[in-house]
Amino acid sequence: MLALFACALLVLLAIYLVATAPGAWFPRAAAKSLTQRDFSMSKGTGRLFAQPHAGEALLVLSTDETGIAVVSGVTDLRSADYPIVAWRADDLAADADVRMLWRTDVAPAKVNSINLGVAGGGLAPAVVAHDPNWVGRITGVALVIRGPLADPPPRVYGVTFRPGGIPDALREVVGGWFSFERWSGASINTRSGGADVQALPLSTLLVAAAILAAGGWYAWALRRGRAAAWPIALAAVFVAAWMMLDVQWIANLARQVAETREQFGGKDWRARHEAADDAEVFKFIERVRDKLPAPPARVFMLADAAPLRGRGAYYLYPHNVLFDPFGNALPLAASLRAGDYVIVYHRRGVQYNREARRLRFEGGGSVEAEVVMVEPGAAVFRIV
């Protein structure tokens, strides 16, 4: 039964690859790529941004006055050799309007475009083989993101021009299954099970193969009077399919554990926080705690970014912290009282007049306060 299941799996995979691989089955051209360093921002603003583990990316920070950001790069490749274009990007809004533009040497003045699908914050590969404008030599490509941009801002890692064919499709499918899914803020809610964008999820293929194998085995067993064993055979296939999915998950988990140990292994509690992604907030709050009286002081934690606000508040306990977990509201000045502390961390809309010793909240009035601590982009005030 398990052999039948394995055969069904291979046959279905082969059928899928033959049916979907664009271009020649075994093309000669090798894939070509542009990385984030090969791009420039023709519209909007961006900067290169190095992230631990994920590598360097072009961070798209803002759009131009017409509401679009354009990331462009120069190419020189034969369109016929590359029927698939795969942009590697992340943190795009689910409803983002994203397009790819390109120019060719056939009509150099003409800018061609195609819509790109957004899934899981990334971009689905575009099959351009049948686009009538994908002709001649491709002299330049661009990615157009129509704003408003997501928060955190989109990241562009590069683009790969793929030659298509069966080996490329197989690599894409299997690579998608085993693509590393690092912990993120969304991990606690959902797992993609490999790459965010997958044309053929492993679970779909396994279920199709299991149905085929179970049906085939039953037909075979019925003729031989062995159908009584069908429930065991079906269970065996189900468990085998589950195990294959679990291998993918365990491999991902093992890789994540290795990364985690690299980041935090052998460190004490404090050093682990200092090595964490939010180390800057942690260290800042540690400095703030030195300036605060013994807990519990009433403390207001203000920051524009919700994660900074929440993490900052968390590190402030057991002080009696107030923060806005769901919005970014400022406190009313009238609600503050002498002895309260206000922590402002990368938060617009709060001004301090040193001469008048007044702390003013945009739309919320002002209150007398003294400065306890000032750092670039951050300050601590005590209400007097």
Partner: protein, 464 residues
């Protein structure tokens, strides 16, 4: 100290189950059930004791929490031993014998050891992750560990309140994102830190790993006690322990969903045992675990309520099914009526704008990597075993599962939570509460089908 903390949480539950068990030889799987469900009960009991201490103004401390629990546990163990004297020296040999599974066929033994090794690898990886990573997921540091931090430092339970009350209280209450959430999980974190002797928001999450291990034991033991073969039970244990989202909730510990799922599954299993063995013992265990659900997370009230139809069919074997079905219909009607008033329950707004995002739900359950093949398996098992689902042996769990699925359907179809399916947030966490039970149900239903099918197709039953 972590091991000691785990032992203190584990011992009272184990002692209680041993004291409650019916005198006589140990049934297959009973040891695993006692170990698994014992931890869930013991950990809950520990937090109840901490609430009592706080209520009477006794500051939290290692001795004041642990010592009375250990003494009471020893008394319960002594009672259990007096009532049903067993040879303690024979236990290691008996456990080894069960582990070696010599009565299984060769292929089954290979599977048995492979799955145990696989489970061990998984739990080792999860232990490495949970013991290294500082508190990571969002709600963990906006509404759960916030309480733990304050209570650990104050050494008693201090109240948390919403913003308006916080302002009005003038510093006597604290604030976080969900001040009304129950204290059980933060108290377990507090206890772990007290035993460690320091605030450590990495190691304080060890109870999540312990809960996952306990769930695995409870599933194995529970299914064996409900008549599953050793092979079916170990496979189910593997399936329940390998649900990717459940594993994520161990690795990124700090949410209350996995502990709720563990207690809910164990409560349903205890209820099933009650339906088969009768007597008040299993009913008591089911009730305590159902109460634990309500004290772990607010939706636990609804989950506990989904066990009521199951209890009804146990209490009223002849008319229970009809009564439960009428009750389901009445609840549906009441919800439809109440929904017109646009009320809110636990931050979920009821309305009649029926628009469940089926496509996203399908994606979550069947295509993404949250559940492996759980929902395919459940659908197939239920379809194949449709004749057995309302049989006397399965009907209580069927009612619990129907109640659970209706609850999920209601939340996603008739409340503002439907938005959480589209963005793949709460949909999977809410489903996690039901998932381990679905694994057990799938196993029992499939076994019932397999027995019926095999006896029908067996050559000995073929017409001459």
């Amino acid at each position: 100290m972590l091991t000691l903390a785990a032992a203190v949480a584990w011992l009272p539950g184990v002692a209680a189950l041993l004291a409650l068990r019916r005198p006589g030889p140990v049934a297959a799987g009973e040891g695993a059930w006692i170990a698994g469900a014992g931890f869930l009960l013991g950990a809950f009991g520990l937090t109840l004791w901490m609430r009592v201490l706080s209520r009477f103004g006794v500051p939290f401390g290692g001795t004041v929490i642990a010592l009375p629990l250990v003494i009471v546990s020893l008394v319960a163990l002594a009672y259990a031993w007096r009532r049903d004297r067993f040879d303690a020296r024979a236990w290691p040999a008996r456990l080894l014998q069960s582990f070696q599974a010599r009565d299984l066929a060769k292929w089954e033994r290979i599977l048995w050891f492979s799955l145990i090794a696989w489970l061990a690898l998984r739990f080792a990886l999860l232990a490495a992750e949970v013991a290294s990573r500082p508190l990571y997921p969002w709600d963990a540091w906006t509404q759960w560990a916030t309480k733990a931090r304050v209570w650990y430092e104050l050494r008693h339970i201090a109240p948390f309140a919403r913003v308006a009350e916080w302002y009005a209280a003038g510093g006597s209450v604290y604030f976080d994102a969900s001040p009304e959430y129950p204290a059980t999980m933060p108290l377990l974190q507090v206890f772990t830190c007290i035993m460690l002797g320091r605030w450590d928001d990495v190691l304080m999450n060890a109870p999540w790993w312990q809960m996952a291990v306990a769930l695995a034991f409870a599933v194995y033991g529970g299914l064996r006690l409900l008549g599953a073969t050793a092979t079916a039970a170990i496979i189910s244990t593997f399936l329940a322990a390998s649900l990717p989202l459940a594993n994520v909730h161990v690795a990124l510990a700090g949410y209350a969903d996995l502990p709720l799922a563990a207690c809910y599954a164990a409560a349903a299993i205890a209820l099933m045992r009650w339906s088969r063995e009768r007597g008040p013992r299993n009913a008591a265990v089911a009730v305590v675990l159902a109460i634990a659900c309500t004290q772990i997370k607010n939706p636990g009230w609804f989950w506990a309520a989904t066990l009521v139809p199951a209890a009804v069919v146990v209490l009223l074997p002849r008319h229970g099914l009809r009564v439960s079905m009428i009750a389901f219909a009445a609840v549906a009607f009441a919800i439809a009526a109440v929904a017109r008033m646009k009320l809110s329950f636990f931050n979920y707004r009821l309305d009649l704008d029926f628009d469940p995002p089926w496509r996203d739900l399908f994606q979550s359950y069947f295509l993404l990597g949250n559940w492996n093949l759980l929902w395919f398996g459940v659908v197939v098992a239920a379809a194949l075993a449709y004749k057995d689902l309302f049989s006397r042996s399965l009907v209580p769990m069927t009612m619990a599962v129907i109640g659970g699925l209706l609850f999920l359907f209601f939340v996603f179809a008739f409340t503002n939570a439907s938005a959480f399916i589209a963005d793949q947030t709460t949909v999977n966490r809410a489903t996690l509460h039901l998932a381990p039970l679905m694994v057990c149900y799938m196993t029992l239903a499939y076994e019932a089908f397999a027995r019926r099918f095999s006896s029908r197709e067996s050559p000995t039953h073929a017409p001459a």
